[in-house]
């Protein structure tokens, strides 16, 4: 990993997600993610939901194979920004792509949430979860309105 210059303090153990981060993960303003390809081109994009797996892991839904999923598989270190519209807290995460799941509880829960909404808009066939991409959280930083 080695980003000695990063402002975010890193410990030997991976960072822990606090409970207060949860409202930001499914926020009304979508989260932003930046990945980087191996040839050094950053890719910034919007993701509608970040799923809480456990205190050390998050998951992103992979509904179609795009640049973000491709980049994460060749260079696993990603950077994510989320905002909680209730508290106005902004959350900055650094994470590492770990693996993809196509079955099991994490996948099923994400699939369930996506299908539930998709079936309301007649889009069940379009929004299909291909895989749940699980990331290990390496750093968490909270940027409260007062500090920022």
């Amino acid at each position: 990993m080695a980003t000695a210059r990063s402002a975010v303090r890193r410990a030997a153990e991976p960072a822990l997600l606090p409970n207060e981060i949860k409202p930001a993960m499914q926020g009304a303003i979508p989260a932003s993610i930046c990945t980087c390809s191996l040839d050094g081109i950053p890719n910034a994009t919007i993701i509608s939901q970040v799923y809480y797996v456990d205190a050390r892991h998050i998951a992103l839904s992979c509904q179609f194979f795009n640049k973000t999923t491709r980049n994460a598989r060749e260079n696993p270190f990603v950077s994510i920004l989320m905002i909680d519209l209730e508290s106005y807290d902004e959350w900055y995460l650094e994470a590492r792509y770990d693996h993809s799941e196509t079955e099991g509880p994490v996948f099923d829960n994400m699939d369930m949430q996506i299908e539930a909404i998709a079936s309301l808009t007649g889009m069940s066939g379009v929004f299909k979860l291909k895989s749940a991409d699980v990331y290990e959280v390496l750093a968490v930083e909270r940027r409260s309105p007062t500090t920022g």
Binding site: M1, A12, V126
Partner: protein, 694 residues
């Protein structure tokens, strides 16, 4: 007593004799024997007095008044499993009853189709997202055909929803849901609460349906009617019982609500929450360490401060103390005025509770001056306590009781400012690890006179005669290397808390000892020209910094293993191999996180060499040096589960007895023995299977 049909009499006896039969009725309903049909009839009668509609409405009412779920709905599935129909609703306009949801459509339809719980937190923004995609597809002529279903029942602009499938014996009977117009209105605790209530709802529905089916067959059972009516009298009691059961269900729910709010208030350690929620948490007796802190003269100091200033200073103090305590696996039980009471080893016991508590105390004393200008007293005692939830029903707290707590408080009371005082009991558990002074006896109310000890600090590796013999070559010529190693460690690995890591299995200073021994061994070997210049040994190619990094990080993976794995002796060698494998994997992962993947092959080689899977394999000199130092320190250093550590000469004998250490074949081992042995001792016997020091 009148004579009864024997069969009926038997049933009657069974029912009247045992109240628990009511619970068993549900299971028996499925059976088709005549006898069971009679019981079914009775059971139906019981349920008939509490009809389904009434049960459902009562449940929703309780959900609202007790738990604050103000928009809740129960839908029942039809026979064919195609649709769900609203059977009870609360918090919706009149006329919601009877509305239909097709299975597979919308969140609740999906819950029914997949028989899985769903929790949604921001429905409107997700709908907007889907609608945007749909609009795009439509513009492209690719949109799937919209379903013809009308609007679904529910709040028009719900943001949050939990839907729970009501399933009995693998059969879906309906869906139970709560909604809210606020985003992120529900969390995991709500999910748990609703699941518990959902189980009750499902059972009520199933019983009511079986009751209906049984009524249809009532004709067949006319011959027992007379007897049954008499039986029903005795069953009045059962009806009451049933009602009481329902009340107790509601009580359970109520208790769980209390629990959930507590969960947020952090009134119990995280590990006990599941048991707490399931009502299984029982008070138990465990051995722990209790730590008290107190700020000297805080009362007079704070008298000159504004109230909000006092609070903010104390909160900062508690936040910091809590962090340190947590770092050493402790749990802040409560704060009293300006003092903190912390528990180590709750809720499940821990082999390192005493060690952890003293390390936390030392860390607090070390860091305090950066936080606060007043000196702190800390007292610790270890011993048995009774742990559990304590307090009145609406305000209970995970707490511990027993003399152990009082003695810890007294230790703090008698402590000098800036010091860490421990009792005899704690002393007995941690003595090998620390520099400790005896502070004499004190009167402790109810306990008589008790010894108090003051912990000065962690035992200094350089003067630890159990690991370094004072007359050895090492002690004489190389002691200064230990400081070099500590400097190196601080420079390179500021972010790794070695003390907290080593405390996990009581191997304090182990990494630093291995690094020091290996480095000194390298220098000692290099100082002997014949060895240093031997290209077969390859000593000059060793990078000392790399050697230090490997030695310091070789068991970093400990943080991921459990306390019992680390501290209980392995029952067999297979288990030991598995544990070593896990430790290696976690270590490699941790080293990778430090950005030092270049060390991975060396660390793997080190583990392979130490486990001696293939003793004939040649091993690189760097690996061998670290392995020698590691094995030696593992033997001589104090460790929790091994009881007494090895004498130095015993450990050296053991080293030379290792399978790959035939006489004369390993010059590094021989040199290490020369370096560490007491000056006066020498090898008396050295044969293929025997080494004895004199």
């Amino acid at each position: 007593m009148e004579r009864k049909e024997p069969r009926v009499a038997a049933v009657r006896e069974q029912i009247v004799g045992n109240q628990a039969i009511i619970d068993q009725l549900n299971a028996r309903l499925a059976r088709k024997t005549e006898e069971v049909r009679i019981i079914q009839q009775i059971s139906s009668g019981v349920l008939g007095t509490l009809d389904l509609q009434a049960i459902l409405e009562r449940i929703l009412e309780t959900m609202d008044s007790l738990l604050g779920f103000s928009h809740a709905v129960i839908l029942l599935s039809d026979e064919a499993g195609q649709t769900l129909k609203v059977a009870a609703a609360r918090g919706y306009p009149q006329g919601s009853l009877g509305a239909v949801v097709p299975v597979g459509i919308g969140p609740l339809g999906m819950v029914a189709k997949k028989q899985r719980i769903v929790r949604l937190s921001n429905i409107q923004s997700q709908l907007g997202y889907h609608a945007a995609v749909r609009a795009r597809l439509e513009a492209d002529g690719q949109a799937p055909r919209a379903d013809a279903s009308g609007p679904l029942p529910g709040l028009p602009d719900a943001e949050s929803q939990i839907g729970i499938p009501l399933v009995v014996k693998d059969r879906l009977v309906g869906v139970f849901a709560v909604e809210s117009q606020s985003p992120n209105a529900f969390d995991e605790v709500d999910e748990v609460l609703l699941t518990i209530v959902g189980n009750q709802v499902a059972n009520a529905i199933l019983n009511a349906r079986l009751h209906e089916a049984e009524l249809a067959r009532a004709g067949e059972l006319k011959q027992f009617n007379a007897e049954l009516s008499r039986l029903n009298e005795t069953l009045e009691a059962s009806v009451t019982e049933r009602t009481r059961e329902l009340t107790s269900v509601l009580e359970t729910v109520k208790r769980e609500q209390v629990v959930s709010s507590k969960l947020l208030a952090r009134t119990a350690p995280a590990e006990v929450i599941p048991d707490l929620l399931a009502g299984r948490l029982q008070a138990r007796r465990i051995a722990i360490s209790v730590l008290f802190t107190d700020l000297q003269n805080f009362t007079s100091y704070s008298s000159g401060l504004e109230p909000d200033e006092i609070f903010s200073q104390l909160n900062e103090l508690f936040g910091w103390a809590g962090e340190v305590i947590q770092r050493y696996r402790g749990y802040v039980n409560k704060t009293i005025g300006d003092s903190v009471m912390a528990l180590f080893g709750v809720p499940n016991g821990s082999p390192t509770h005493a060690l952890d508590s003293v390390l936390a105390a030392l860390a607090m004393q070390r860091e305090l001056h950066q936080k606060f200008s007043l000196p702190m007293r800390i007292g610790i005692n270890s011993g048995p306590v009774t742990a559990g939830m304590l307090g009145s029903h609406d305000k209970s707290l995970y707490d511990v009781l027993g003399d152990t707590v009082n003695v810890a408080s007294r230790m703090e009371h008698y402590s000098e400012a800036g010091a860490v005082s421990i009792s005899e009991q704690t002393y007995n558990l941690v003595a090998p690890y620390f520099e400790i002074q005896s502070m004499g006896e004190h009167d402790v109310k109810g306990k008589g006179r008790m010894n108090r000890y003051r912990v000065v600090g962690i035992k200094d590796l350089a003067t630890d005669a159990r690991r370094i013999d004072p007359s050895s070559l090492f002690a004489r010529d190389f002691r200064g290397v230990i400081d070099e190693v500590y400097d190196f460690r601080r420079r390179l690995f500021l972010m790794v808390d070695f003390v907290s890591l080593q405390a996990r299995d009581g191997s304090l200073s182990h990494s630093e000892a291995v690094a020091s021994f290996a480095l000194v061994l390298l220098r000692y070997l290099l100082s002997q020209e014949s060895l240093a210049s031997d290209p077969a040994l390859g000593l000059r190619s060793i990078d000392p910094e790399r050697l230090l990094r490997i030695a310091l990080l070789h068991d970093l993976g400990k943080h991921a293993l459990s306390g019992s794995e680390l501290n209980e002796p392995c029952p067999d060698s297979a288990q030991k191999d598995r544990l070593r494998g896990a430790l290696l994997q976690h270590t490699l992962a941790a080293v990778e996180r430090l950005g030092m993947t270049d060390l991975a092959p060396d660390i793997e080689d080190l583990y392979r060499f130490e486990s001696c899977v293939d003793c004939a394999q040649p091993v690189r000199p760097l690996i061998e040096l670290v392995a020698i130092a590691d094995i030696y320190d593992a033997l001589t250093a104090p460790k929790l589960y091994k009881g007494k550590s090895w004498r130095i000469t015993g450990a050296l004998e053991e080293l030379l007895r290792l399978p790959y250490c035939r006489p004369g074949s390993r010059p590094f081992f021989t040199a290490f023995v020369e370096m560490m042995k007491p000056e006066a001792s020498r090898i008396a016997v050295r044969s293929a299977d025997k080494v004895l020091f004199w």
